[in-house]
Each structure stands twice: as C-alpha cells, then as structure tokens.
Symmetry: D2
Subunit: 362 residues, 4 copies
C-alpha cells in the first residue's frame, strides 16, 4: 500500500536509503528447489553498480549481495528470500547543502511535502540505490523464467539523445549488448554514444535516451485481460524506475501514423502454430501474450543533477541557487539496462504463475 512492493504471486519488497544500514529486498513466493546462490545474483548487480566504466558515476561501491534467508544447501526453500547490500561509500558532506535546498527536478521537495521529513543524505530513499533490490530480485526471476519456462529477457540502449541504434529484437544477443560500456548492441552507434556521454560529463551536463526491452519465448496465454494486461503491468514496472518518463509497446506512439489496414498483424499458420506476419502488437494482444517476441521502449530523461549553478528554493521557502556536486551519472541508461530487465522479468514471472494457478488444468 505504501508502494514498496511489486508483484502478486512473485512479490518483492524493497527497503533502504542511500545512507544508512544498506538496501535490500524480500522475495516472497519464489518456487522451491531452485538452485540459488549469490553467484546467480551478483553479475546483474555488477552491471548496475557505480564505477563500472568511465561513463558512469565514479562512486566506489562493490554492492556485494548477501542472501540472509530462503535458501538451504544451495537451493530455494519456498520461504522468503532476504537479500542485503551494505552501503559503503557514504560521503555525507557532499550532500550537506541538500539538507536545506531542494535540487531542481529531484524529489527533495515532494518528499518533504509528502512526509514532512526526509533523509537528505544522498537522496535517501529516492536514490537509485533502491533499484539494487529490484535488480537482485530480477536476477532470480530471470533465472526461473529461463530454466522453468524457456523465456529469455534482454534490454539494451536504443537511443541516447539524438543517436538512435538500429537493432533487431528477434536476433540481438546478450553478448552483443554487453560488448561495450554503453550496452548498445550496434557497435558503431555505441561508440558515438560513449563519446557523447563522455563529452556531456565533461561539460557538467547530462543526457537521456531510450532503452528497449524484449522477452523471447513467452508462450501464448500470459497476461490478464482487463486491468492487469501484460503491457499495463510492464508500463507500471517501467514508469516506476527512476528518471523514466514514457513507455510504449510494439508499434507504440509510431503506430499512430498507420491506418488500421496497414497496422494489423495478420495471422498465418507457420510450423503448425498460430503466428503473425508482422509484430506491431509487440507480442501482446488484448493484454495477453500471443507467442511473438514482446518488445517495448522506455524513455529516460536527462539526469537532473548537473554541475552548474541553477535557481531553486530552500526548505525555508526562500529563493536561492544550487550547483550540483558529488559524483553523478551523466546518463543513466547504461546502468538502467539491468533494471529494465529486472522489471520485465518480475512482471512476466508473476503472470506465468497466475496463468498456472487459474488456467493450467488438464
């Protein structure tokens, strides 16, 4: 109810602020007897952590995960899995101005308005450190989807500012995505993106872009038809990520330029299966997967923290100015790729389990 949980049957609850005892997540509803150790989770946290390359924040945090419960002798018990990552590189002094000034386009003011109190150190709960819990839980969800349902989840950077990469969702490979630090599988565009981000960082500015998420191998029949449509839950998952501003699926906003005759995905039998000749539906029809590849886009705004003095107000309700300090990402997209994967996996696994519960009768 207070918004820190996601999912129904595979339900996660995250906790923690950027400064304090750490951040973590409880995963409730994980199937039993799944092989699981920290080694299944750490790689995704490493893809999310600061300091991993020259185009992300240089903060030094190892973000090492510990599983505190829910496994026994390397297997899941079916009981809640509690995972914890300690906070390490905490430089409160870098944030002291934030105690009294609201950073533009951040959540400092709205937290104060809502709660009448906020932890101003490092952004507190608004810090992107919160997403550690999601990525850790998402790693488990991805593993279950892969091993028990044959579903593969991927995400990659599709656009940075005006640089757009041409990528085929049907064929793109994890290795291609991870072959460069910006996580764009189109090498030539990736190089331009890296240069742009580096230039932006040096200018003390920031840029946004688009991440495309895909799920391959989802069988027809996942998703609920009315409010919990697959695309509705994906939209919620994506718009719950820090700095996200938009979501579209399949033909999305671009589909508006087609007429119905042009836009429809015609059905044909291929290999004895119902398939579509095109995939403008993005693998989802009426909220339910149709067996085609699911793909969608998430828009991320340029990071709000810039190294320039900007107008703002203080908690004393006086006008003032504030200049970004500390160590920040000039572009969140490279680190947001595992977050998009995580939210995708959480949505899909939840729907897989719902389908199993309600419809999977002989």
């Amino acid at each position: 109810m207070a918004g820190n949980s996601f999912g129904e049957l595979f339900r996660i609850t995250t906790w923690g602020e950027s400064h304090g005892g750490g951040v973590g997540v409880i995963v409730d509803g994980c199937p039993p007897r799944l092989d699981l150790t920290e080694a299944d989770i750490q790689p995704d946290l490493d893809r999310r952590r600061p300091g991993q390359s020259k185009i992300v924040t240089p903060r030094k945090e190892s973000d090492t995960v510990q599983i505190l419960s829910g496994t026994f002798q390397g297997k899941t018990l079916g009981t809640p899995i509690s995972m914890w990552v300690k906070n390490e590189d905490q430089r409160s002094e870098a944030y002291s101005e934030m105690a009294t000034k609201y950073r533009p386009s951040h959540a400092d003011y709205t937290y104060d308005a809502k709660y009448g109190i906020r932890n101003w150190q490092g952004g507190g709960r608004t810090s992107a450190r919160e997403t550690i819990g999601r990525v850790a839980a998402g790693a488990i969800a991805k593993k279950i989807l892969r091993e028990r349902f044959g579903v593969e989840i991927l995400a990659y950077v599709k656009q940075v500012h005006r640089l757009i990469a041409d990528v085929n969702p049907e064929t793109v490979k994890f290795k291609e995505i991870e072959s460069n630090i910006v996580r764009c599988p189109h090498t030539a565009t990736a190089e331009k993106m890296i240069r742009l981000i580096d230039r932006t960082r040096k200018a003390g500015d920031s840029v946004g872009g688009i991440i495309e998420g895909i799920a391959r191998g989802v069988p027809a029949g996942w998703g609920e038809p009315v409010f919990d449509r697959l695309e509705a839950d994906l939209a919620k998952g994506m718009l719950s990520l820090p700095a996200s501003k938009g979501f579209d699926v399949g033909s999305g906003f671009g589909g508006i330029l087609l007429t119905g005759r042009e836009h429809n995905d015609l059905f044909r039998i291929k290999g004895g299966k119902v398939r579509t000749l095109t995939n403008r539906s993005g693998g989802i029809q009426g909220g339910i997967s149709n067996g085609e590849t699911i793909y969608f886009r998430v828009a991320f705004k340029p990071v709000a923290t810039v190294m320039h003095e900007q107008q703002t107000v203080g908690s004393d309700l006086q006008n003032t100015t504030l200049k970004g300090r500390g160590r920040h990402d000039p572009c969140v997209l490279p680190r947001a790729v595992p977050m998009v994967e995580a939210m995708t996996a959480l949505v899909l696994l939840d729907h897989a389990l719902r389908q199993k519960a309600q419809c999977d009768f002989a």
Copy 2:
C-alpha cells in the same frame, strides 16, 4: 489477481461481456455521506456510448446505469456501490464468423490460448463495453476529487493520425472539449479530425491518435515513492485501456532531445508557495505530485476491425480470410476521452486516500 480489479483503497471490480446479462462494476471503499445518484454517472456514460455522433459506431445502446447498492436516500453509505448496465443491441449473427476465425490484432486468439474457451459474441470480455464499469466508477471518483479535494480531471483528443492540436493544459476548459464531437478543444483542428475520421469510416479503414490527460489542483504530496509512483499507476491505468499502446508524462519521449541543464524545472517561490518555472516534470517528481498541473499522453492504435478482407487463421489452425462486419468505430479516441478521465481519477483518488491514511497526522 485475475485482473478485474483496480485500485487499493478506492477499489473497483468490473464484470460482464458484450453479450449476456450486461456489464457492471463494484466500487468498494467509497467514502460515506457523498450525494450520489445515477444522474452523477449517466453523463459520462453518454459521452462513452455508441451512436452519439456520426464518427462513432452506430450501434444503438442507451447504456443506462442503475445503482443497485451502496446508497440510501441519495447518499453513499460507505458500503459497496454496485452499478449495472444492461446489454441491449445484441446482434449475435454479426459475429458468427468470429466463432471459428481469429480477427487480426484482436484478442480472439490470445483468449483461446489462455482460457481454452471464449465468448465470441461481440468480443465477449474483450469488448470495449467492459469500460462502461470504469467510466461509471470514474464518475464517482471525479466527483469526490472535485468536491472533497478541489481537483479537476480533464482529457481531450490531442492528435488523430497526423493531425496535432495545440492545446494548453493549464487553461483548457471542459466546455471547449465538449464543444465538438471529436472532443478536441482546438476547433480548427477538431474540424479536420472529424473530416478525416469520416473519410476513414467511408473507406472502411481506421485511424489512431493521442489523448492528453490532465489533473489540475492536485496538492503536493500525493503518490508513493517506489513502485506505486503516480506516473507508474497512471501508466498502468492507461495501458489497461483497450487499444492503448503508449504513455508518457510531462516532457516524455520528447524530453530526450534536451540535456539536463535544459530539461530541469527550476524552483521558485510564487505567492508563498514552491512552484516550478517550467513543468517538464508533468507535475510529478520522484513519483509524488509537486503541486503543478499533471499532464500526460496516451497513444491509441488504429482500430483493428476494418471493412476489408484480411488474412487470418481459424480455431481449426487453418489459414483463412476474414472481412470486418458489424458496426465499429473508425477511431476510438472520441469515446476514449471519458475512459482516460476515469482511469486518471481512479489513480489520483486512490493516492489521495493513501496519503490521508499514512501521512495526514497532526
């Protein structure tokens, strides 16, 4: 869990198929002592119903709502409000081909894949008639927001195919929106849209577009910070509408073309209040309202039913063709305006009540 409910504290559950006993909704959690009769609800259903103008489906259904419970002597009791609309204009014969053939880009196939059974008459549960329940519940939510919280919800057609209207979310009025049958407040563009939709209808084709939704008067502090961000719940609500393909809030996808310096909303004190000089945040920061006008866009695809023969497959897994019959909308947008309003109101009221429960202590 099966996806027919929306909201937590102000929770609605819709039911019904396009052919059968009718469609309806239960509203649970409505505050007591609110003046409420059918007259508060019918106007929005009239804005949603078929046959209201020459650019929507000519089906004849009065969609008259009955309140079956939850009120007494014209006031809400705090108990569940059950509302029911009978089905009237049911021509099953128009749909007989659908018993054995899957309409392209509809949900016939996916329902069969999910449930192993479907009501093929008029699309069954996938029919847009389901949204009657949402619009009825939304009318109550809008009334509560207006009377108890001073919040105004509006929506209008922003774009049809390539026709884009210039509208100011801060000043647009309900009367302007309702001044024409396409529900676009920019009169000159509205006329072009109407001509385009009419031409499209005659050609047996369909078009899509964008609806912009807005909420004015929302105080700072509504919304939960992590998964249930205001924009995340709005995104879910909008992507749960039939034919929707995308959502963005504030600067949205367009914000990607700005850098952080350009994009940030600078805070200033105006009239003793914290305000922003621009509103690229769309009234939401860190998932929580900041007191500015909330605005967002929803993309709707062109309607899948077109009056042309198209390739498809049958439930016998054989290739075949199908030509749209029956009476369909060439463009869903004019009728989707009250749906967008309804989902917006449901999201905002739910968050208003959550805020009241958790944070509103002296």
Copy 3:
C-alpha cells in the same frame, strides 16, 4: 480494503443491502471450462434462505440467483462471474423504529459511529442477506474442489444451547445432515434441538450453538506457513460470519487439558502414506494440511433480536426502549450451515490455487 472481498486467487466481492436493488457477488479467478449454471448454485441458496422450515424466520424470499456474466454455453470463461439475487419481501415499516433507535447487540450503533450514516431498513448491509453472495460463490468453490481436487466439504450443527450431538467427522454424510431441518446428523439430538428452537421461538427468545465444519480429501501441502496458515484463514472466514464468536480447530480449546505427550499425533505409515494415529491437529500442522480430515468448530451467539422490550439508546443519544418486531430466526445455526461450508470452500480453493502456482513444478 473496505472489507467486502475475500480470497486472493479465487477472490469474491459481495455487495448489497437487505433493502434495495438486491444482493450479489463477483467471483474473480474462477478456472475456465467448468460446467456451471444456476442449477449448481441454487440448492445451496435454498438451504440458506428464510422460510425453509418452521424453526427459521418465516420471511418469504425465493432468493433466486441469476448468473449475469462469466459463463458461455454452460461453461465458465475464466472471466468474472457476476451473480445477483433480487430483494423481494421488503417490509420497511417493520423497521421504522430502527431509523432512530439502536438495537442492542446489533451493528446499528457501530455503523453510525463508523460511517455517520446507515441504511436502517432491515439492517442494510449488516443483514444476513449479505451472506447470499458468499453461499453462491461457495457453491462454485465446492464444485471445483470436488471435481478437480477430490475434496469434500461438509458442515453440520454440533450443538444448540446445551444440546450436544455426537458426530464422527470421518464418516458423517451429507444426506444425514440434510435429513432434518436443524441440519444435525445425529437424529435423536436433532429432534431435541428442533423442539428447543421451537420453544425458544414461541418464547420470543433465541439460542446459539456450534457448527462443526470438515474437509475430507485435502492432500498434504495446502496452506501457507506464516500468516496465511490454513487455520488462520479458516478462522478469519468463520469469524467474518454474522453472529460468530469463536473458532477452534482439531483439539482446540479442549486440547489445553492434555499434556504434550498425550496431545501429539504420532505418525505411522499406512497404505504407503504418512498418516497420524490420532488427529488432534485437525488435519493441519504448521499451517499446512497433512492429509488427514480437517475439522473445526464455530461458535454462534444467540440471535440479538428478541421479542421483548429491552433498554437501549437512540441516535439522539437519549435512553429509550425497543422491542423486537418483524420476522426473525430464533437460532441462526440451521441456515448458517451452508455459510460455514462456503467459507471453508473459499479458503481451501484459494490455497489449492496458491499451491499450484508456487510449488507445483515438475
């Protein structure tokens, strides 16, 4: 959240007041492809309805159920099942005093305290008519449990006032329970109970008692271990029934008189299966079914409406007196038997589906 829903995966929402458009229920999450018509539901409503015998209220209501959605050609669709029973025998004048006086040990005062408004006609939402929705939904749950899981649910009157029946939960049959109007399978005690209730009715008084509920054929493994223990959910279900005051499972309150050595259920292998020599656990250990018969008791207080003048207060906060009028049950137990069955079935089916979702992997 406002308390009108029960269950997670098989979720029901009831609505309606005793006077008004009727009462009903939405069942969400029903598996598809189940044979279902009103004929599956009406028999349980007939066991619940007024006027069925001389020991229950003589009110005349046929309580005829209509399925408004969720089925097609006699089978469930997997979509919400909406069921509706009209109100018929409404004599508002019988209740006019209740508009201004609070009936002792009823909910008139607490509803006013909570909502600041109440429908005083026939008790409004507090009327036992609300349980019609539960019984209708329970009939579906019982059918699914029987047909898809091989589970049988029964309940019977175990005690009325000081009259206690000796019944064996392992062997009692539905036919025996239904062989008399008090629904106690021990014939000799049943006759005494009937005479007692009849005498009590004539005296304008009322009596309470105990219903025992049982579930046979539940496989080991249903139930969640911590908060949603099978006995916890059963307890909640039973204490949510009007006039219920207590619940115990297995040895229950009586088990306190044994020591641990005496109380333990020793495990033995019988027929290749893990069984217990005794069943003080009531078929549940650590919140999870162990394969033995589940049995429990529910205490119902004597009905609050008695035909004698009693002290009370009015909504004007003045002392006054009130004498019960109208047509009331001298003992709720005979009509509460199908309610106990319904709540039992709702709890068990929900846990069956949860088990299927989380644990049922090859």
Copy 4:
C-alpha cells in the same frame, strides 16, 4: 500471497529461518515523524526471547534488534523500516535426527509435502524465531496506537492446563502482568502456574493454556463490516501464531449457554456517550468497535517437543521413533504474551488507518 505478509495499510513482511543469516521484518506504511529507535523495540523482544526465566527454554540468544532503514535522526521517514536480528546460538547437531525424521505434531512433514525441501536445522522457517519480526513490528504498532490514538494493548496468561486466573480486563495493569515470569497478573494463580510448568519441564512433558488479549481506548468505528471484521482479523492474527488452536471474543464459546435475552448488551447513555451495560460483545458489534474494551482469548496447545521417545516416520517413509532433544519450552505461553500483543496491535492499527482513509472526512 505466499503468506509472509500481514496487514494492508500498515503492512509487515517477515523473513528468516532459525538457522541462517537471521530473522527480520519489513514494516511498510509506518507514519512519518514518529520518534523511533531500537530502544522502543528491544523491550518487547526481551519479553519474547529464550533464556529469560527458568520456565522457558534455556537457549541463549540476545535477540538484539538493528534498524537498518526507515529512520533518520531518530524519527521515522515514512519509508520501509527494515529490522534485523542475527541468529546466535545455533547448535545444528541437536537437530541432525530431524534431517530424516518427522517430529510428531510439528510441521516437518507438511513442509516436505508442500515444498519438497525443508531446512531441518532448528525447524527452519517453522521455528518460533519467526515471531521476532512480528514482535518487533508490533512494538512500533503499539507505540503509534498509544501515542497517536490513545489505545492501550495488553495480554496475559489466563489459563495453564487446568489452572485458571481471575482477571478483570477493564482494570488489569501492565505492571501486574510483568510482575512474575509466567505473565499472569493474578499472583496466587501465577505461582501455581510456575510450579506446574517447572514440574512439567522436569517430567520432559509440556502444557498449553489460554492467553487473553485486550485493547482499551479503541474509539467506536474501527473495523470493516463484512470480511475484514475486527474479530475476523484478530482471529486470523491469533491463529497465525505457532501452537495456537482457537480464538474467541467477548462471551465466545461460553456465550452459547445464554439465551438472546440474557446475552444482549443493553445500551445506555453514560457521560454523554453510548455505552453498554455489559460487554458480551467484547467491544465489537457487526465487526466494528463500539467503544467498549475489546477482549478475546487464544488457546495454545501443549508444545509438541517432549523429552520422550515417540512413534513417528522418516522421510524415507519408514516407521521409526524419535525422542525430543535440544532445549525447548515446556509451555509457550509466557513468551507468547508479547506475540499476542503484537498481532493485536497490528490488526488495530491497520483498521485505524483504514478508517482514517475512508471515513474521516469533515
């Protein structure tokens, strides 16, 4: 859904096994700006912990709680409060037989039946250590109820085996309850109870009993009328406690011996307020508090672990015997008192917040 969460608006999720990284709880939905440190929580954990007296298990665990998130400078933030207690005194060897044998009347067999795997060390998730999280969260709930709503929660041992204490729920004081190690406020009976438990422990046996829980100062109007009745949620909370077998409220099972005329609580105006002359309703009418003291009883069975050889079966499905080893409580009641308080507080606070959200409009 997997049963490790409790509450809606003030929602807790517990995690952890008796052997492993520890046990803990996330509290989501705590109001902001409440003074809170570990010192508010530790006293209740000390009342729950092993080794506190000669009549409880001699295991040595300090059960020291750490708050990892959700507070800042000694005040709650409104964000999730994560609390953690490390496991200390872990002697796995004491449990090695449990790896292959099912303890009678424990949950070893049912966990295996459900999950196909179990952590047999110290009972894993079935260990009463799980209740640490509840007691920690309950301490916060009690504090909020006390400071913001003026509600006092108490519980005490009412009965051990055949020893019954005479206690007045209206006047009993915390200090009286805590004046002896069995937590029975009637000193003479307490002494007998202590001697009985001590004797039982020496005999390697165990005893059960009854805890009475009370809430004073609850205003009229808390509780939802249908499924989430106050007594229904209390029943669920209590039956979710390890070793509990029954619950009744107000007159409870005993009320069956009265007729309606005898049983009714007559209303009278006292001090300008609506009060009842008796309190057989236990402070709840129609599921909603009526302003009188809420009181109820919880039956706890004798502890299953006894120091005698008993018949059982192994996970190899062979008959065998097992003798209890390790350090166990001969009677859970003294340590269960803070658990009953915790569950009571969690239920009441949740309903207080719901009432605030739905009904508390000017």
